[in-house]
Structure formats: C-alpha cells, structure tokens
C-alpha cells in the first residue's frame, strides 16, 4: 500500500514538474540519421537548423527553444517510430522535427497523430508523406513538384520532342521518372526509351552506351548525389553524349557544386530543375550562404540545409502566431497558409495539404568567369505537388 502511494506521489510530482517546466521552454525533438549511410545529409540538415537558431536566438514568444537529438542510424522506420514515442512520453517534446528519409517520416506519422504534436518534415521528399497524418507540415520539396513542371518546360520552352530517361532504380528515381515523363508527354513530347541504373553501381558505361545507340534528341537523368554525378558525367563524355551533341536534363543533385567540380567542362550546358540554387543572386541567399560558410568551415549549404533552415523558420513563426501555444492543433492551424521569403525564394504552406508550395528554378550550367555554375534561366512560381490533387 505504502509503495503504491509513494509511486503515485512520485508520478504526480513528475507530472507537475514537467508541466511547470513546459511553460518556460518549448522542446523540439530532432529525429535524424546522424550515423550510418545518411549521416552527411543529417549533418547538413542540422547545420541549417543551427544556423537559423544562431541567427534568430533561442527564445521565441518568450519561451526558450530546447533541442533533443535522436539518431535513427539509417532508413529505420521502426527506430524512428520508437524515438518519436519516447520523445513524446519521456522527454515531453512539443514538436517533432527532422526526418531526412521518407520511410522514417512514414514510421513516425502515427505517433504525431496519436500524440497530437506538430511534425515538421525537413527533407523526406515523397508526395505521400504529408497525407499520413494531419499534423505533418513539410518545408523541403517533393520530387514530383520539381520534375512534373520540368517535363512540361522541356517540351514547351526547351523545344524538345523526344527524350530518353535514365534514372536510379529506387523510390525517388522512379518518382522522378514518372513525374518528368507525365509532364513531358502531356506537353506533347515522346519518351523514346527508359532505363534504370542500380542504386549502388557507379559504372554507368553500359547504360550510357544503350542511350547512345538510341540516338535520342535529349536525355533526362536522375541519380543520387555524392560520387555518382561525376561518374555519370565521365561516362557521358566518353561517348560524346554531352551538350551540344545531345541535350541533357536532370534534377539539381546532378550538377551540385561539388559534382560540377569533378565533372569539369563536360557539364557545360546541362539543364536541371531544383528548388534551391546556391548561386541565386539575392541578398537573403547571400547572407544565408555566407553565414553557412562561416559556421561550417567553408562548406556550402545544400537541399538538406535549406530544408532544416526553413523548417526552423516555420517553427519560430508558428509559435509567434500562437503566442507560444505549442499544442499540435494550434501550431498546424497557424502553419496552414503561412508564406515567407526564404533564401531559396518565396515559399508557403498549402492550407489544404500542409505541403510546401514554392518556386521551381530551371538552371543551366554555364561558365561564369573561369568557374562552372548553375545559372537560373527560367523560374516557375507557386508550384504545388501535382500528386496530392491526383490522389483525391
């Protein structure tokens, strides 16, 4: 009997102390793959988060923002779900955020619904993510978002009638292929051939040879960032499949600054689609990039960094709007329709789907001075993910 009373008293004490504590601070749980094959992505995203906090202070609406970081160790949906559960019941977080990888976002979605906590997805780029819980808000990008309009653009403004697609054989690659082809054919283009490369095979020569044999007018490429763009660039150059012989299109990772460095002049003329361009001439972007360089030993921000940065912006601004009320319902309601200027350009949250709406940039690799860089040649404003409408 005594034991039971003591336990109850202990429990009550704990409950009281946490609620008293919660009035002073807002706890944000960051769930990211800090170790394992995606550790670099997690670090870039985290650097974006840290930069925002360093710039805007750690107090918002009179409350201190406190982070609790949790490592999933790779695409681990079961671990992500457990960590989300623990963050909610043990650490008493008010907001869960992070989620570099789609499976992990999907795993934790149920927890957000059950615990009624806002869940800010700062990267995971599959369309379906935001449909898994009414508490999910996304600040990154979706692959169909940038590729569907790109397919249209290539046919209409790029003047291309036939294209060959070559994508990495995994979820994001297939998504990219499907949405590009949809936009391209809807605008009157024809896909003359489609090939898939293994995700873990950097030898592209056989695939590129097959593309060369088909003699297409244009090639659309989607491969994961990292070491692959350089290998792809070399394979293309070896078979003369570079501009101006053939038109090359792809998603931004293909011509990321680090990839351009190793690709060299063969990259000249490649046209890509993306939501964030490092070199975009804009005072806000310049400030962001300079601050990022200073805080990270000269490393440049990438799509993960901007997702984390804008994710924090959303958290800060919604808290200001609710006057520090951190309940999931209030925050999500505040997030719906919110619009702001980001280093990437204007962006907003779709009030219906809670997904990101933003400008898609079409960039061409050009020589500026003696350096290759992505030069914006066109932009399409207020692009929504095309799949949310299709699902309804």
């Amino acid at each position: 009997m005594f034991k039971k009373t003591a336990l109850a008293a202990l429990g009550l004490g704990l409950a009281l102390s946490t609620s008293a504590y919660a009035q002073e601070t807002i706890k944000v749980g960051l769930i990211l793959p800090y170790s394992g094959p995606f550790a670099d992505a997690a670090n870039q995203l985290e650097a974006g988060v840290n930069l925002y906090v360093a710039k805007h202070g750690d107090t918002v609406a009179g409350k201190k923002i406190e982070f609790i970081r949790k490592d999933t160790g790779g695409p681990n949906p079961d671990v992500a779900k457990r960590l989300a559960q623990e963050l909610v019941v043990r650490d008493g977080v008010d907001i869960i955020a992070g989620f570099a990888l789609t499976p992990e976002a999907l795993g934790a979605a149920d927890v957000a619904t059950e615990a009624k906590k806002m869940m800010v997805v700062m990267n995971a780029a599959t369309s379906v993510v935001t449909e898994k819980s009414p508490y999910i808000v996304r600040t990154s990008v979706t692959i169909p978002q940038v590729n569907y309009v790109f397919g249209k653009w290539v046919a209409e403004k790029g003047g291309v009638k036939q294209a060959y697609t070559l994508v990495a054989d995994y979820g994001p690659g297939l998504d990219a292929e499907k949405s590009f082809a949809k936009g391209f054919t809807e605008a009157g283009g024809t896909i003359v051939g489609a090939d898939k490369t293994p995700v873990a095979n950097p030898d592209f020569s056989a695939f590129v040879q097959r593309v060369a044999d088909a003699k297409p007018e244009a090639v659309y490429i989607f491969i994961p960032g990292g070491a692959q763009p350089a290998a792809m660039g070399k394979a293309l150059a070896d078979r003369g499949l570079t501009p101006p012989n053939v038109k090359l299109f792809g998603q931004g990772e293909l011509t990321h600054p680090e990839a351009l460095e190793s690709m060299g002049d063969t990259a000249n003329g490649i046209i890509t689609t993306f939501h964030y361009t490092l070199e975009r001439d804009d005072p806000m972007n310049k400030e962001f990039v300079d601050g990022y360089h200073a805080a990270n030993n000269g490393r440049s921000p990438d799509l993960f960094s901007i997702g984390g940065y804008d994710g924090m912006h959303l958290i800060y601004e919604t808290l200001k709007k609710t006057n520090g009320d951190a309940s999931g319902d209030a925050l999500v309601e505040a997030a719906k329709g919110m619009a702001w200027q980001s280093p990437r350009g204007p962006m907003s949250i779709d009030p219906e789907t809670r997904d990101v709406v933003q400008t898609v940039y079409i960039r061409e690799v050009q020589k500026v001075g003696d350096k290759l860089q992505n030069v914006i040649i066109d932009q399409i404003a207020d692009v929504k993910d095309p799949n949310h409408g299709a699902a309804q």
Binding site: R82, R90, T102, L106
Partner: protein, 329 residues
C-alpha cells in the same frame, strides 16, 4: 549439479539439467519491472525483448549447433514482411494469427535454405548465409509492388490483441506482447536445449565427424534446428512489424545480422540467457550513447565489444559463470 552429472541414468541427468533455478525465476520476474519503474522506457523495452528473441533464435544455430551465420536477418525480415503484407495487402489485422503465419512462412523458407546450409561448413557457410541474406534483401528491394521497396511497406494496421488491448503510445501493450512472445520462444528453446536432441546438436558443434560414427544423423538434426530457428527469427520480425506498424528493408539488412552476432558475443553464446543479456546491453548502451552523442556512438559499442571479448572471451555470462566457479557447459 555435479552429482547429477554422475548419475548413470541419462534421462534423470537431462531432467536435472532442465530444472528451473531460483535465478531464472527471479530473472523473469525482473522483466516485469519496467512496467512499474520505467514506464517511459517501454517502447525501448519492447524492442529489447524482440532483439532478445532474435538473439535466442541465432543462438540455437550458432551457439548450440555451431552453424556460423551472418545472414539470419533474412528470416527476421521475411517474418516482418509476412506479418506486414497480410495486414496491408490482404486486410488480415488479427495479431496472433498474423504472428503464427509469419513464423510459418519464415520456417518454410528456413527449411528450404537448410538443404544448402548443411552441405557446407566454416568460411563457406559464412559466405552462403551472407549471400542468402543479401539476395533476400535485393529481392525485397526489387519486388517493390509487394514490399513497397525503399519507402517501406505502407498501410499496416494491427487490431487490438484479443480485441481489447490496443497498441498505445506508451508502449504498454507492445511490451507485454513482445515479452510474452520472448517468453514462449524462450520456453520452446529451453525445452530443445535440454533434450536429447539438444545434446546431439552440441555433439555436432564439437565434432561433426564423430556424430555419424555413433549413429547420429547430423544433417537431419541441423536441418531441424535451422528450420526452428528461422521460424523463431520470423516471429521476432513479425513482433517488430506488429508493435511498430512498419516494415522496411532495414529488417533484412546485413547490419541486423551482424548486430545480433555482436549481441550474442557480448552476452555469451551457447547459453540462452546470453542472447537476452547481450540484447539488453547492446540496445540500452546504444540508446544511452546515441542520446549523449548521436553521431559517433558506434565508437563506444566497438570499445565495449573489445573490452568484453578481451576480458571475458565467453561473453559476460561466461565471465560471470567463471567468477561463480561454475563449470562451463
């Protein structure tokens, strides 16, 4: 104990070895403590119980039968996907039958694989198990229409156990369910280990050439235990799917096969409690270390592993047994 070993009647000897010690009863009573003292750690406790069941399944083949395996995650993953697929694709949400189904599927695959396993030994065995594991992983990756590919299986829905106990946010049901699964799996394994069949397995482990000479069909024994072990691993995988309502390629990953061997080495192979202890230490250390430093916690796991192997070559349980002056099994 030593007297029992000298008893001429082998049945009495086996029976004496199979008796429950007070330590064991205390251990299982202690597994209920998290409900009262660490209620906010129940999701972790649930995953420890699942890892422990998986470790026991590997201990049966690795510790008792001497089949070195680096690919047992294939059965864990097959069980996880089997439980997930009947729920998400066929709408079968009842958990207990789902668990049984997953065990049967994993056991059936294990039985087929066992024909290959018993033909090879040592390094070749390591390569075969590793290869089978990688093949299963890529197969699941390629069959994305069934498994959901890299995005994982979506839409898994599990009904409350017996229609009453819902899987809650605090993880109470999840832990009770996983713990019950672990306990039943443990009872079965304990029965096997303390039977004449279990002794025959140890004979195979110690000297595979002598077993045919004394009239023991070692291949049949190995096939049997491999199938049982595969089914148990499948049930562990299914428990993970059902308690988290997720199934991903990570369940089939090589890392999971390797981690479970690390757990066994930490705890001590060839003793069922070694797997449980190893799983608990590995998972708790991982959770705590990753909480302190989310980036580089694997460093400390490596450190712990070296420390244990250098000071206690037979694992923590082996070291404790030596300290207590008990003879090795």
């Amino acid at each position: 104990m030593t007297n029992a070993a000298l008893t001429p009647d082998p049945h009495a000897w086996l029976k004496a070895r199979g008796r429950w010690s007070p330590f064991e009863i205390a251990f299982w009573a202690a597994t209920l403590l998290p409900f009262f003292f660490f209620p906010s750690y129940l999701p972790l406790a649930s995953q420890i119980a699942i890892a422990a069941l998986f470790a026991i399944s590997v201990d049966l083949v690795l510790g008792y039968a001497g089949i070195v395996t680096l690919g047992h995650a294939m059965f864990f993953g097959i069980g996880a996907y089997a439980a997930g697929i009947i729920s998400s694709r066929y709408g079968w949400t009842e958990p207990l039958t789902g668990l049984l189904f997953a065990g049967l599927v994993a056991g059936a695959v294990g039985f087929i694989a066992s024909f290959l396993i018993v033909r090879v030994q040592h390094l070749a065995l390591l390569m075969i198990t590793l290869g089978l594991g990688l093949l299963t992983y890529e197969l699941a990756n390629a069959m994305s229409w069934l498994t959901g590919g890299t995005d994982g299986l979506m839409g898994i829905d599990i009904a409350p156990i017996f229609g009453v106990f819902n899987f809650d946010l605090w993880g109470r049901t999840a832990y009770a369910y996983s713990l019950a699964g672990l306990f039943v799996g443990f009872l079965l394994s304990r029965r096997i280990v303390h039977s004449s069949f279990g002794l025959a397995l140890r004979g195979v482990r110690e000297n595979v050439r002598r077993m045919p000479a004394i009239g023991s069909e070692h291949r049949v024994h190995l096939q049997k235990i491999y199938t049982i072990s595969a089914a148990l691993a499948g049930i562990a995988g299914a428990l993970l799917t059902q308690t988290t309502e997720t199934a991903s390629l990570q369940t089939l990953n090589f890392e999971r096969s390797a981690d479970v061997v690390v757990m066994l080495i930490l705890g001590g192979t060839g003793r069922l409690y070694g797997g449980i202890l190893g799983a608990a230490i590995f998972m708790i250390a991982r959770d705590q270390l990753a909480g302190i430093n989310p980036q580089y916690w694997y460093f400390w796991i490596g450190f712990l592993l070296m420390l244990v192997v250098l000071t206690m070559p037979k694992g923590i349980l082996g070291g404790l047994a030596r300290l207590a002056g008990r003879r090795d099994e």
